[in-house]
Amino acid sequence: MAYFSGLTDALRMTFVQIMILSAIAVVIFLYGMMITFQKWGAGVTGYALEPQEGKRGSAITFLKTWWNQVTEESHHGHGKPLLEVLILDILFQRRILKRSPLRWFMHILIFGGWMTLFALSGLMFAVEMTHMVGIELPFTPYMFREWLSLPNYIFGYILLIGVLIALVRRLFVSEVREASIMYDWVLIGVVFLVTISGFLADGIRTGIIWDFGLDPSIAPPAALFHSVISLIFCIAFIPFSKYIHIIAIPLALLANKGGE
């Protein structure tokens, strides 16, 4: 089955090829997470303890320690119910809202846009897989992709607005700019690149707004570029960059029962 992108018609990517790329990205992500969990697991299992002699960090140690902290009672009296933490602190991100409504607005746009686009891509993937294994659906993958185009646009713009606010803050607010280090720049740069490349790829393909007069024949390579950098930066790169916060912060909030 021909996939939607490629360098030329002759070099059009197949579904299998894009799946292989995806699998590589997932493997890199999993390897990175394993290394990260091992790094975290090099820590001790409780307050004021020491690591066991000769024992190396393990993912199991980390997960056990984390779970124990999640389930133990807090002596500080700050603990909130886990469901409240999940909904208000992790999904709604109220700790950011309390500190800065603008920064919360920016982050919730990026978070909402990013996660929804990720979920929609997952849905599309599920439909394609269903079709591939021969299960009959009342619609074709092509029809489904067309249905998704509107929510994709909406959440794409939501993401874009968030990313632009983040970029403007980092570039033009002096206290933010002066405190920024490469660790911060790489994250916002990559998110910007992935977002813009998505709009460009779609614009060139459809000729709407984002085509900038570019030849529609470059739509497949543009889509390929977007697909590849999305896989690299949105999946494989997570454990090796500031992206790790999307995993570490929810885990920290749960472990600390919402924090003080």
Binding site: W40, T45, A48, E50, W66, H75, I244, A252
Partner: protein, 409 residues
């Protein structure tokens, strides 16, 4: 060739704390609020997010992907020494934790980093290294004779041998800030509350050792906690009253942790106890205190364990008191600067923070700056004197004593 060992270990740092290093997104909220960063003239190394960044880099150099593939990268000793100075330039007030968007438990992170470095032979800071020896040997940090624990007790104060309630004085109130001890004991007597004291069986609570990363040295804090708990049990106490925020926090949080079990008695701050008595209408005030009073939340009473309302409730019920709030109060309070070993280790920094807090109080036009901790009182008085401000610094219990017509001398 032998494989190079990592320059840092993970001693004392829990797996969750190592994860917390990666959850910092460097939003900078902690930097805006940190009292020692502000009082130091914004020394970059004191910024909480900078400390997290540096330890994360140390972890990656020692245990990250590159370290796994090519071996750990050396971290120069001078760098770790500088880090030690910075991690001790913190009062462990916990404001960085309150404002942290990732919910990082920073206080325990700093304490773990301190302990980790002390175990490596780096730190603590300055005179702080005397704590284990002094407290281990004298059972108080002031080198006072344990036999003198009750030397301050005036003739008019009645103490039971055994009672349901024990008043745990604390070293600072028992040896140096006697007004607090006078006031607490007389107030309890006046209210008809029978209480016992531990006398020479009262040992230091261990807070100074834990906060400065020296809990492991000769296991002193464990011994202190074990001894104190047993001594309290011998007095038959069901409830232990603390007028010192540092001791209260240690008993509430650190003792159960050190002993690995819940305490067999209730740990109560005297302000909570008095608030309860006021609610039950058991306090008959004798005279008004016609003053404007503001209140400084001790970090160890407020942010660390969440007692914010009881002292305010007591103050607002003292007849004649006009209670006013400072700008930064409750969970967003500015630290007095004394905690976390800073008063002993870096007194100039402690004084700088105290001056900032006294300025907060001056803005309210209050006559009295009150608090609920002898250590806060000491440092706020130093800040007041350095600024040459005409303001009385008094503990809430002293004001209660005054309103009950009692002496605090």
């Amino acid at each position: 060739m032998a494989k190079r060992e990592p320059s840092i270990s993970t001693k004392n740092l829990t797996a969750v704390q190592l994860m917390e290093l990666d959850s910092c997104v460097r939003c900078g909220e902690c930097v805006k609020w940190c009292p020692t960063y502000a009082a130091s003239g914004e020394k970059p190394g004191l910024a909480p997010r900078d400390k997290i960044l540096r330890w994360r880099q140390y972890m990656n150099k020692s245990y990250g992907l590159k370290a796994k593939l090519f071996g750990p990268q050396e971290i120069p000793d001078e760098e770790l020494q500088e880090f030690k100075d910075d991690v001790h330039g913190c009062t462990t007030c916990g404001i960085c934790s309150t404002v942290c968007e990732a919910g990082i438990n920073t206080v325990e992170l700093w304490e773990s980093m301190r302990a980790n470095l002390v175990k490596k032979g780096i730190g603590p800071y300055g005179k702080q290294n005397m704590f284990p020896k002094l407290i281990g040997q004298y059972h108080n940090p002031y080198m006072k004779d344990q036999k003198d624990r009750l030397a301050w007790v005036p003739e008019d104060v009645k103490i039971e041998n055994k009672a349901d309630i024990v008043y745990f004085t604390g070293c600072t109130a028992g040896y140096n800030q006697l007004a607090l001890a006078f006031a607490t004991s007389r107030v309890l007597n006046k209210l008809g509350v029978k209480f016992a004291m531990l006398g020479e069986d009262e040992w230091c609570c261990g807070s100074a050792l834990i906060r400065t990363g020296q809990a492991h040295i000769n296991n002193v804090p464990y011994e202190l906690a074990k001894h104190n708990v047993e001594a309290i049990q011998k007095r038959g106490a069901k409830k232990v009253l603390f007028a010192c925020a540092g001791c209260f926090r240690a008993a509430k949080v650190d003792w159960p942790r050190l002993l690995g079990k819940e305490l067999p008695f209730e740990v109560v701050h005297v302000s909570e106890f008095l608030a309860g008595m006021i609610k039950e209408d058991k306090i008959k005030w004798v005279k008004p205190v016609n003053k404007t009073v503001t209140y400084h939340d001790p970090c160890h009473l407020g942010r660390h364990v969440g007692v914010f309302d009881a002292p305010r409730y007591v103050l607002s019920h003292i007849p004649g008191v006009k209670f006013v709030e400072m700008d930064r109060v409750k969970e967003f309070q500015r630290c007095c600067g004394a905690g976390g070993g800073v008063k002993a280790g870096i007194p100039d920094l402690a004084l700088g923070v105290a001056e900032s807090r006294v300025k907060d109080a001056v803005e309210t036009n209050a006559d009295i700056l009150s608090s609920c901790c002898p250590f806060c009182k000491r440092n706020l008085m130093d800040g007041r004197d350095a600024l040459n401000v005409d303001m009385v610094v008094e503990d809430v219990i002293e004001l209660v004593a005054e309103a009950l017509g009692l002496e605090t001398k």
